[in-house]
């Protein structure tokens, strides 16, 4: 498992950690039951404060992606496929919204955007 922190991205460090772990879980790279590094170990490895990693884990816990057991550490939760699919859809929605905003900046109509999407989708298929 790789977690890489950028100190120039402007995104808070806890959000970077949470985002990358979330990504790994949703992509199926981290499967249910996989132990995550302990909060203090991760803080040590990334040379950041304990509370920053704690905050990242707390956020993932809130989303239901990981479970923390006192004395044992944190694990990828046993959330079912349906739940994970939902989460992934939500991420997709987010990305689509970004694309829509971008297209508006460029003055594109919906039909133009849909055409572009269709073209790319078919290209990928081949």
């Amino acid at each position: 498992m790789n977690i890489l922190i950028s100190s120039t991205s402007g995104e808070p460090i806890y959000a970077q950690i949470a985002g990358q772990v979330r990504q790994l879980i949703l992509q199926g790279e981290l499967v249910s039951g996989t132990p995550l590094p302990s909060i203090r170990q991760l803080a040590k490895d990334l040379q950041i404060s304990v509370i920053t990693t704690k905050r990242a884990y707390e956020e993932l816990e809130r989303e239901g992606l990981i479970n923390s057991v006192v004395g044992k550490g944190s694990f990828v939760s046993g959330a079912d496929q349906e739940f994970i699919r939902e989460q992934r859809l939500r991420i997709m929605e987010g990305k689509l919204k970004e694309i829509i905003d971008e297209s508006r900046l460029l003055g594109m109509e919906y039909t133009e955007l849909a055409e572009m999407l269709k073209l790319l989708y078919e290209e990928e298929k081949e």
């Binding site: 170990q41 803080a43 040590k44 040379q47 404060s49 509370i51 920053t52 905050r55």
Partner: protein, 289 residues
């Protein structure tokens, strides 16, 4: 979460300087950074905790015990790294270690030898011939070898190269892995150690400015950059400190929400760094004198 150090209304006057009514708690199991400009009172505060200086007023508790009465037992659990060399300069590293070891009930020779090797400490070299970095490493080796539950370090990185600073970060995070050990260090240079600090205690002119969680600290403040025409008498009052130049101003606001509401459309609003918070606070307090 309990406090490993608890200060209550601590005051101490010197000829030209005074610590005034400092009350704060240092959390067990975490790293706390004590920041402030030179002469803010960081070393005096540490000396008081180490029993080198007696407060005129106030109360100190360490590990939940009254420190002024239980000093010896408490110090057995403290590792102290001074900003200056406190060891006998003409002794060799080995002899100095022989002097220190018997006083600590939990001294572990094996651990010491491990760190001696790790830090490449030359046992036969005299203390006065060690570089500044080596001296710090020696006091760290001593502190870590008697199983200190609380590590107190006064300016441990001043005058050290970045490579050792990195090593120190590693060592410190290693030290608190068991969730029971705590670290307090002071620094006037916020850019190096503060990234692993969980809590920040900020002292300026002998007074406590804040004692906050590092993670959410910068989110409470707002750094505003804008044109000078925005600043009138009332607006100036919102700022902790302002720096004005010919081409605009930068200022720090203590209440992020309020600041954003006011300046969102007219100026650049950013999250300040710790250094900026320190800079504008000190600047602001100077302006009010």
């Amino acid at each position: 979460m309990s406090d490993v150090i608890k200060l209550q209304g601590l005051s101490k006057s010197y000829d030209r300087f005074a610590l005034r009514d400092i009350s704060l708690g240092i959390k067990e199991g975490y790293i706390t950074g004590l920041i402030g400009p030179n002469g803010a009172g960081k070393t005096s505060l540490i000396k008081m905790i180490m029993g080198m200086v007696y407060p005129d007023q106030g109360d100190i508790q360490l590990f939940g015990k009254n420190h002024l009465q239980q000093q010896a037992a408490n110090k057995d659990r403290i590792g102290y790294v001074s900003d200056e060399n406190i060891y006998y300069e003409h002794l060799t590293v080995k002899d100095m270690k022989r002097v220190i070891a018997p006083f600590y009930t939990r001294w572990d020779e094996k651990t010491y030898l491990k760190y001696q090797e790790k830090f490449k400490l030359p046992p036969g070299k005299k203390i006065k011939d060690l570089s500044k970095g080596m001296k710090i490493k020696f006091s760290l080796a001593v502190a870590l070898s008697h199983g200190a539950d609380l590590l107190i370090m006064d300016e441990p990185t001043s005058g050290l190269d970045p490579i050792f600073r990195r090593e120190l970060l590693e060592l410190l995070s290693e030290h608190i892995q068991d969730e029971k050990k705590s670290i307090v260090f002071s620094t006037h240079n916020t850019s190096d150690l503060d990234r692993i600090a969980d809590y920040i205690v900020f002292i300026n002119e002998g007074r406590l400015v804040f004692n906050e969680m590092r993670e959410t600290l910068t989110e409470k403040y707002l750094l505003v950059k804008g044109g000078r025409e925005l600043l009138d008498r009332d607006v100036r009052h919102m700022f902790i400190g302002i720096r004005e130049t010919g081409v605009g101003f930068e200022g720090l606001i203590g209440n992020r929400v309020e600041g954003e509401r006011y300046f969102k459309d007219t100026a650049i609003c950013e999250m300040p760094t710790l250094e900026e918070i320190m800079y504008f606070t000190v600047k602001g307090s100077e302006a009010h004198v």
